[in-house]
Symmetry: D2
Subunit: 352 residues, 4 copies
């Protein structure tokens, strides 16, 4: 039984993990930490959890939090928090999965560039952990994740784009120059904090692009794809919000190398992901929507290259709160603790 | 006073035109035609129009329809209907604005290719009108529209993509090869007929791409951009539906020619559209959403090229039912009858 | 030409009035006041208004605001603001329409009770105006509104309930004891300020009752119905929010006096409202939804008594932002300045 | 292990049960029957179920269907189907839970009245089963359900209203005359078949009442409450649709008998439902929405009587597809087969 400590229990990333942990046969929530709602039950803040998770929230620096007998700590916290928390957790013998960008980069230089993009202090406060931390896109880093003390869980957009481009980049099925990620996300990606742009009347019949000067997730995408390609890759990413709650639809474009066809790309994707429990490949004649992965840890990758124009095109569908966040985090925990990778993650969602 | 006959009054394209005509100071609806609701008032079918438009619907082949004293006929009808209607209207001395693809192409060959894409009979039934019909994207064809007897109103996706790419293509600010249109539409674009994919429970938290083998609007885009460029252009288009009702967000990609920058593209767009009442240019630092054009005949074009990656990017926002349909149609009527182009179209929408 | 000053221009109540004023042939916005966005154009805050209303916002105590040459001032402001503003406006010769509860009651005692319900200071700061202020439900108080210096625009829920119950109360068609108002509102009624309950992910598939200990609008309903009845009336009101943006659906219940039937109630409602441009009566066999009044100043009242059980039932539909707020306000202005009551208010909305 | 046959597998009621059965540790789907999609996997129709339920659908009269080795058959079918199916199932030794109104009434006379309300043949085709069939509101009929061969699963509105009124009726806390059920439902209650009223553009910002001449569920409510009261009860019910997908919010009204207070009603409800795993009672100071029960088998009953006006008021919240349908059905199965009542039903939903 893996004992779990969760920091940031009350956000969407936190309750998403709680929901999954409650279904996990080999894991148990032992400590819930947050800065809001301390001393109250998580279910006081989220009444739908009454009877399901009535554990009391403790403060980050409380004796209960610091002395937790957990085996693993999830930092479901914003950028910057994990830099302080993770060293403490590691020192206490707890392995760490951090949701933010704090441990997605293995050098202080890369982190500094990332931090500048999100207008944060570029000096990482736990540089000693950067070298050993592992990027938590499970399908690409299983072996290292299994041994890692600190895992940097990937960004939601990044998950959708990397699983969409990786086989093509690996097998030379797309020109490496001029890659484009056109990403549409549901608004839960912005978290539970009310903002003007996510106020119901402003959002209900509205779609928009944002952060056009460069979303920070582009760095993960470039780093991972570049690693696979063995060369520097630059990606243009367009983050967009559409009036749904759960789901990311990323449409990925590039140029087909001379002679490469849709049929070939499709065959390679099917081969590459044949044994992946959560990565599903579809042909473009099959109808797919984000609702097909809603509530699920799956990514569906539709291969839809345009032989007429020579454009490489793949469409990637995930639930931003599951495969894009809590699901990936739990998948990583399974790998870290030698459990079957899909344990607790293979249940059918509810529809509609 | 321009007298107006409207065929297909009861669809979204029809009532959209009715709403606009009711505000138009120099136009008057004289004949409403449809195959549904004949003998009843339009407001029986659409109660929100009671007291606003209680005119009775007549059948297409009724004496009232055929003998209408209208000056102009709008065919707010599906593909194929205008091929039969327009010759009759023209013979009766009525100029025609057709919403469908029937008169968007000036040759039987092009039409045949279009028809095949939408699985219709490739033989046009009014080939004699194709030669003289004019493509109704007002900003690009004002002079011909002013004299036209038959105008082929543009497709909603096409409007958004063409106004987004045209200045770049004209001024050599984008490589002509590898153009991509990533288009997201609200569901009203699919019309009023209930379908499984637009059933509320299946749509409310769902986004999807469709018709990946080639949406028919791509032909208009290629033809218009090719005409401007003076060469053949091929475009990859990805139609996608997101859970909103009104609005199209088209994100357009290409490659920046060597040395071309965001600043230069922005300046050229601002110049090109400086005197256009309905085409508004924005820099990518400005926040724009489809709700900024909801209910309006405007297109907002955000110039957002990525100098870092050399990717040309423009984001085009329209209301698919106004600038993408009824608004463009009325704008064309204004031009055809020598009225100020913005007459009846310059009113503020309601928000939220 | 009526010259208009608007305090609180940037809220939903403010822009709703701006939209309507822009269409009004005999009124003109001359001064826009707000505490946010001072020195900027209203269209900077609300880009959909660019080119429609680019007037600069001035501060409440600026020379432009205080020295405005307006004939009428609308206080589209929260409870309490009008108590300070209205005396100043009146002293400057400007008649006032206030959106809040500040002038809905004609005695300091009633106001004090109202204020306590919304947890505000029960001492009214402009008691001298209470005596002369008029309750702005136009259909019930036309004569006094025509002469009023200060009009207290009614609450949105109150509009729907009072027009729904008034004819029955007047004509003895419902027992006066045990009246119930089951009210469902769209979320725009809560204004533009983001809150946890109106955050898109928390609201999109959620309906809830709130303020069950007593919504303040109940006082207006009881006062107006009591005035009509000539006796004290107590009403139970259940405010509820459903995931739509515009619209109120109020289902009103009571007991049918012995011998009173649906047919009789329907006939009386039809008679009573026969000449009202904005009050429409329907039988319960007719299908009605809030979308039938969306964007319109109309109220549709469906008479649906249950002869089998002896229950009086009427269903009232309005757009909370139009007939429930800005539309009523402009209707009152028309009456105050001797203009046709429907001027600027009789345009067809857009659908869908 | 209970073996389950499901007729009507492809509707919302069918897939809702499939989702629950997949989680049930002591039940197994053995036969899926439908008239659509025969010979295909359920997951071909519902791709989100791929890998979760790939069982092939068989025709109702196929050998696989008729010879199923199931212990229990769920008829997730429209009114009328169960009349033909249930006798066959019972004869084959399979106990039956029917979703429709076919077995909710124990006499042919009552059924005939029900059938007339929904414009169906009033002659029941399996009258011999009516006498022994049990009404499947588990909390009220556990003992009979445990032994029943045929259970008539309750209507979704009826569940919400009956659990909301039952303790008051039983303990004399509400006057029996003049009961009102003001019911708001999400649109999934209408099933998966696309209709004009549930077309996304017509529904997204629209609420409406319907079937005002009398919804058929009123009969169940009257019968059950009358049974508890030991006298005839008449109820006025107002069915309304709001733009959400899952959820029913029923606001229930009556008159408080002299001397009965909110405090007393609340205490009685808490007592009555103290040991019910799925019936939760709340005071009106607690904030509750339908999202608190979304995806759950719970009903939350908020007691909110108005001592000031003497009005009894209770607000009942359920998920129409779970406690209102498939969840209740599985709860009944648990009781029928001697399993713990909450087995497979006590999992936390996902939010948001």
């Amino acid at each position: 039984m893996v004992r779990v400590k969760l920091i940031g229990a009350g956000g969407y990333g936190g309750i998403g993990l709680v929901e999954l942990m409650l279904r996990h046969p080999e894991a148990r929530l032992v400590t819930l930490v947050d800065v809001e709602g301390v001393g109250k039950r998580l279910s006081d803040q989220w009444p739908y959890l009454r009877g399901h998770c009535d554990k009391v929230i403790v403060a980050p620096d409380s004796a209960e939090a610091l002395g937790s007998d957990a085996d693993v700590t999830f930092c479901a916290t914003p950028d910057g928090v994990g830099q302080t928390s993770a060293p403490v957790e590691v020192a206490a013998g707890r392995r760490v999965v951090d949701y933010s960008g704090d441990y997605r980069f293995d050098s202080v230089e890369l982190y500094a560039e990332y931090a500048r993009r999100i207008h944060r202090d570029p000096v990482h406060r736990a540089p000693e952990l950067l070298g050993e931390s592992v990027y938590g896109l499970t399908e690409l880093h299983r072996t290292e994740i299994a041994k890692a003390r600190v895992v940097g869980n990937p960004g939601c957009f990044a998950v959708s784009c990397i699983v969409g481009f990786a086989p093509a980049v690996e097998h030379g099925l797309v020109e490496l120059e001029g890659l484009v990620c056109d990403c549409k996300t549901g608004v839960s990606g912005g978290g539970k904090k009310p903002t003007a742009g996510f106020h119901f009347p402003e959002r209900y019949d509205n779609s928009n692009a944002y952060r056009l000067t460069g979303h920070q997730h582009v760095m993960e995408i470039e780093r991972e794809l570049g690693r696979i390609a063995g060369s520097t890759i630059r990606v243009t990413m367009t983050p967009q919000v559409v009036p749904m709650v759960r789901g990311i639809l990323s449409t990925l474009y590039g140029r087909l190398p001379s002679g490469v066809t849709q049929a070939q790309v499709l065959a390679t994707y099917r081969d590459t992901y044949a044994n992946e429990p959560f990565l599903h490949v579809r042909d473009y004649t099959e109808s797919v929507g984000t609702s097909d992965v809603r509530g699920s840890n799956r990514a569906i990758v539709t291969v839809a290259c345009d032989d007429r124009t020579g454009i490489f095109r793949v469409i990637s569908h995930i639930d931003n709160l599951v495969k894009g966040q809590a699901g990936s985090a739990m998948q990583n925990m399974n790998v870290m603790f030698g459990l079957p990778e899909a344990l607790g993650l293979d249940q059918s969602p509810q529809h509609p």
